[in-house]
């Protein structure tokens, strides 16, 4: 899978994108912290329930975008499960960020966004 060109799997949906973004910026995290990171970055508009989040994590893991990671040394709770972004995940994330950025830099897109509703 990592051999593939990340461009071929784009675009990512918003939630997977946010998850990868949070993991890239904050390092290995458990479910609640990921959810909080997503909520913070989206201004509270994205908030997931455990089943939905873990289903998504499972699918991202199957696609090789993230993997299970060891618990950090300072984690006292042995029930929290940590995941971290993989190299392939990082590449896909960057490709998606580039795609969004290039979209957002189009003048017509900016104009559209400025008009009310």
């Amino acid at each position: 899978m990592p051999a593939r060109d990340p461009e071929t799997v784009l675009p990512l949906k918003p939630k997977p994108f946010l998850i990868l973004l949070v993991l890239e910026e904050e390092g290995p995290l458990h479910g609640y912290a990921i959810n909080k990171g997503m909520s913070d970055r989206s201004g509270g508009t994205v908030r997931m329930d455990p089943g939905g989040l873990y289903r998504l994590l499972a699918r991202l893991e199957r696609d090789g975008l993230l993997r299970r990671s060891a618990r950090p040394a300072d984690e006292t709770d042995d029930r929290r499960q940590y995941v971290e972004i993989t190299e392939w995940g990082r590449r896909v994330l960057r490709a998606e960020a580039r795609r969004i950025a290039s979209l957002a830099s189009m003048r017509s897109v900016r104009n559209l966004a400025r008009t009310d509703r």
């Binding site: 458990h30 479910g31 455990p50 289903r55 499972a58 699918r59 991202l60 029930r79 499960q81």
Partner: protein, 887 residues
């Protein structure tokens, strides 16, 4: 899952483990649970409620989606689905259809869920109480209990000596409360001890988890005092591997721990879980002379259990025990009556246990109500599906025209029903888990503690409940399915054609009638519980539970220094009396509102009895007991009891005075109990000491120093009573740490406690009744509204031709009323029958009591009339012009 987590988190963990498919569950369940716990911890109460609601939907969806989507990732293609394409399409169509009608979906699913949850809960309880074999015991099929009263230990030994051929052995057991100190423990605490014969564990075929269990060697004279710990206690101690050989203290006597019982083995009784077991022969070292000698033939206290020999049958075995009992009676005339009418009760399960009997009426009520609710829910679902099928007649006809087969149409209805079942079942599982959690925390009068029975939701029961649900919905979907098929065969659209009730309405009226009947029964059930509570609360107890508190203390650790114990209790009482807001403090052996009682035979000086001596309840009391418990004195003066320890005086109650001194005052008379002559100094008013359900018995109150008992209750009165409860443990430690506080409760709390079954039953039935009533009203309303809507054109024509609007509306009511009336009548009949059954169990409800049934029938009739009248009125208000124009 950790036992320290909040209940919601534990339930969530259980649901995750039960619902999600592997391998998803194995990999992610722990993480999901941790996340839920973190979310829970981060929220306030209201937000938590929202979290739970969302989590239920989320779990349900995750469980379904993980099964259907299988191993797919998010990046393009590769998804495998469980079902073929057509099925997936139908599923999507159905999901969409259900989401478009959220009210329909919610009502249907919730009603199924409540019915299912109730049934699953009751089955889980019944399964455990009646069907589960006793855990940790070898071949429980061969076990029988001897159904006699409690036996003197020598009689058990006689029976063992007779060694009836049908048995491989006979053992005996009894629970006793003792004060237990573990090695290095901070404080002694009251626990249950199993006092058993040496062959008990051997006979039951129990294998030790550590060390060894008790055996006949422990009963020999000169043997060490040995104790076996329960697995739960051992776990609580931190599961030390080298526990055998250590010491524990039972009522202050050192016992050598020889081993640990296996996990799950909790003895043969339902509600009591012994923490330790000791042999009968070591009981004297624990009781220290405060019970009769275990070899005394006049003291019946122990229960016998036996194992049938292979091939032995119950009838022969019973005959052998009876024959043995005759021989024992001949050798020991005082034991002649002990084994009279002995029977053998198979004890593979605990169904024969008294504890199960206490719960049976409650189970019966709960089971009946949940079945009725399920029934109402099924009628409701059938009604709703039928209504939808008819409403969708045109859509279905269109599908047929486009080439859909009848089978496909039927499948669509079936899938819709199936989705409702799934939604209802999953929510029902949650409801049942919550209900079991709540029940487990409950304590009922009669020492019932359901939590102690260790009941957990069980996959088998869920499957059983699910099967019932599928059947219910399959049956209720049958009619709509047939309608759909008939409709598809070319009668679609015929609804608009003529007068009279359109197709399907008749069936829907019958279904609404069924719901009305169920509504009446459930409402009557609720009213019966309410009636019972009201009449219980209006009973004059004869004493005042308000501003009263009861504190149980055990003085076993004083061992043979009971004189010191009495002094310590007196010091404690003095300290309590000096607390602010305390008016009186006293002790008694039988506290108010308890189930305990103590009976003794007595004589009256100067009187002879023709036959046997009469028996009275005796209650040993001290201090200003009558002020503290709020029992007024009618005659005489009780101060002699307050002052001295050994004053040979008694106070009798009104019932005793009336029965034995009908023409004179008993004050001044002498009575003899246990060879001790005592003078009657006062008469106290009657009190219902054991609660509303009991009549006052002839009772004698006195100090009775002749029979010391290590456990007493302190009765405290005054506005500060509740505060004393909070500080009493500290006071006890300061006065003498050998006193052990066993139980504390305020008077009102004790009253509440006695009413727990009624309140529980009332709450549950109110819930079911509210559900059934709302179902029945929406059902009635729906049928009438639908009938009216289908006949709008006809009404329009009639009104144009000059029909009176009121008459049209009344006619609609009349046509729809028949089913409601029949429903109410059937429901009322069932409610009367219910009352007859309930009268046996509910205090204050008479068998011929028609109040609840009548009230329920009247109110349901009234409500149903309203639900009929509102849509019927529309029939008379049709604007003819607009209806005809719409054509």
């Amino acid at each position: 899952m950790s036992p320290r987590d909040p209940l919601a988190v534990r339930l969530y963990g259980r649901a995750v483990a039960g619902l999600l498919p592997d391998p998803f569950r194995t990999r992610y369940a722990t993480g999901m649970e941790a996340m839920f716990r973190d979310e829970w911890a981060a929220r306030g109460p209201i937000a938590r409620l929202a979290l739970v609601v969302r989590a239920i939907a989320d779990l349900w969806w995750t469980a379904v989606a993980e099964r259907v989507r299988g191993q797919a990732g998010i990046l393009g293609g590769g998804g495998t689905t469980m079902w073929g394409n057509g099925m997936t399409m139908d599923l999507r169509t159905s999901v969409r259809a259900l989401r478009r009608a959220p009210l329909f979906t919610l009502t249907a699913a919730m009603s199924l869920a409540l019915g299912f949850g109730g049934v699953a809960t009751v089955y889980a309880l019944a399964d455990h109480l009646l069907l589960d074999p006793i855990e940790g015991v070898e071949a429980p099929d061969q076990l029988v209990e001897l159904s006699t009263g409690s036996l003197p230990y020598p009689v058990v030994q006689d029976l063992q000596g007779e060694s009836p051929r049908s048995f491989t052995g006979i053992a005996a057991h009894r629970m006793r409360t003792v004060a237990l100190e573990l090695g290095g423990a901070v404080e002694a605490r009251p626990v249950q001890a199993g006092v058993v014969t040496g062959n008990y564990f051997d006979l039951l075929g129990v294998a030790p988890a550590r060390g060894r269990l008790l055996n006949p060697g422990d009963t020999l004279a000169g043997a060490d005092l040995s104790a076996v710990l329960s697995h739960a206690l051992w776990t609580e101690m931190g599961s030390p591997a080298d526990v055998a050989g250590t010491d524990v203290r039972i009522n202050g006597t050192a016992f050598r721990v020889v081993g640990v019982a296996p996990e799950g083995f909790t003895g043969l009784r339902l509600w009591t879980r012994p923490a330790v077991w000791i042999v009968v022969e070591s009981w004297p070292a624990v009781s220290l002379g405060r019970t009769p000698d275990v070899h005394y033939r006049g003291w019946g206290w122990i229960s016998a259990v036996a194992r049938l020999a292979p091939g032995a049958d119950l009838a022969t075995a019973t005959d052998e025990v009876r024959a043995a009992s005759v021989r024992i009676g001949r050798a020991h005339p005082e034991n002649d009556g002990n084994l009279k009418d002995v029977g053998l009760v198979p004890s593979r399960t605990r169904a024969a246990d008294q504890g199960a009997a206490v719960l049976q009426p409650l189970l019966l009520a709960l089971g009946g109500m949940s079945l009725l609710a399920l029934f109402a829910a099924a009628a409701n679902v059938a009604n709703l599906l039928l209504a939808r099928a008819t409403r969708r007649a045109r859509e279905l006809a269109m599908r047929i025209a486009l080439g859909a087969g009848r089978g496909q149409i039927a499948r669509l209805v079936a899938i819709e029903g199936g989705l409702l079942v799934a939604l209802g079942a999953v929510t029902g599982v949650v409801i049942s888990a919550v209900a079991l959690g709540l029940l487990a925390a409950l304590r009922l009068p009669g020492d019932v503690h359901i939590g102690a029975a260790g009941i957990t939701p069980d996959v088998r029961i869920m499957l059983l409940g699910g099967a019932i649900l599928v059947m219910v919905v399959a049956i209720s979907a049958l009619a709509p399915m047939l309608t759909a098929i008939r409709v598809s065969a070319g009668v679609a659209g015929s609804d608009r054609s003529g007068g009279g009730a359109p197709k399907g309405v008749r069936l829907r009226r019958v279904l609404a009638g069924v719901q009305v009947a169920v509504g009446v029964v459930l409402l009557a059930g609720t009213l019966l519980f309410g009636q019972s509570i009201v009449s219980a609360l209006s009973v004059d107890l004869g004493f005042d539970p308000e501003r009263m508190a009861v504190i149980g203390v055990d003085a076993s650790l004083f061992r043979d220094e009971q004189g010191e114990a009495v002094a310590a209790v007196d010091r404690l009482l003095q300290e309590i009396r000096e607390s602010p807001g305390i008016e009186a403090a006293a002790w008694s052996v039988v506290p108010p509102l308890s189930s305990g009682s103590d009976q003794e035979s007595f004589d009256i000086v100067g009187r002879a009895w023709p036959d046997r001596k009469p028996v009275v309840e005796v209650n040993a009391v001290g201090g200003d007991f009558f002020r503290a418990s709020g029992i007024p004195l009618i005659a005489g003066d009780a101060s002699a009891i307050e002052g001295s320890l050994a004053a040979p005086v008694v106070v009798v109650n009104e019932s005793m005075a009336k029965r034995y001194w009908p023409d004179a005052s008993p004050v001044g008379a002498g009575i003899v109990i246990h060879d001790m002559t005592m003078q009657v100094v006062a008469v106290a008013a009657d009190a219902r000491f054991h609660g509303f359900g009991t009549d006052p018995e002839p009772t004698a109150y006195g100090v009775f120093p002749a029979f010391p008992t290590p456990s007493r209750s302190l009765v405290v009165r005054g506005p500060g009573a509740e505060r004393v409860l909070r500080s009493v443990r500290g006071m006890v430690r300061a006065v003498d740490p050998r006193l052990v506080v066993t139980d504390v409760a305020t008077g009102p709390r004790l009253v509440d406690f006695l009413l727990t079954p009624q309140r529980l039953g009332g709450t549950v039935s109110l819930m079911f009744a509210a559900l059934a009533l709302s179902l029945c009203l929406t059902g009635v309303y729906g049928v009438v509204a639908y009938g009216v809507a289908a006949r709008l054109r006809e009404f329009g024509v009639r009104l144009t031709l000059g029909a009176e609007p009121g008459r049209v509306a009344r006619e609609v009511v009349r046509k729809n009323l028949a089913a409601t009336l029949v429903g109410v009548a059937v429901g009322a009949g069932a409610a009367v029958a219910l009352t007859r059954v309930a009268a046996a169990y509910l205090y204050g409800v008479g068998a011929g009591d028609g109040l609840a049934a009548g009230l329920a029938a009247a109110s349901v009739l009234l409500m149903a009339l309203g639900a009929t009248w509102i849509p019927a009125r529309r029939a008379g208000r049709v604007n003819p012009a607009s209806v005809l124009a719409a054509e």
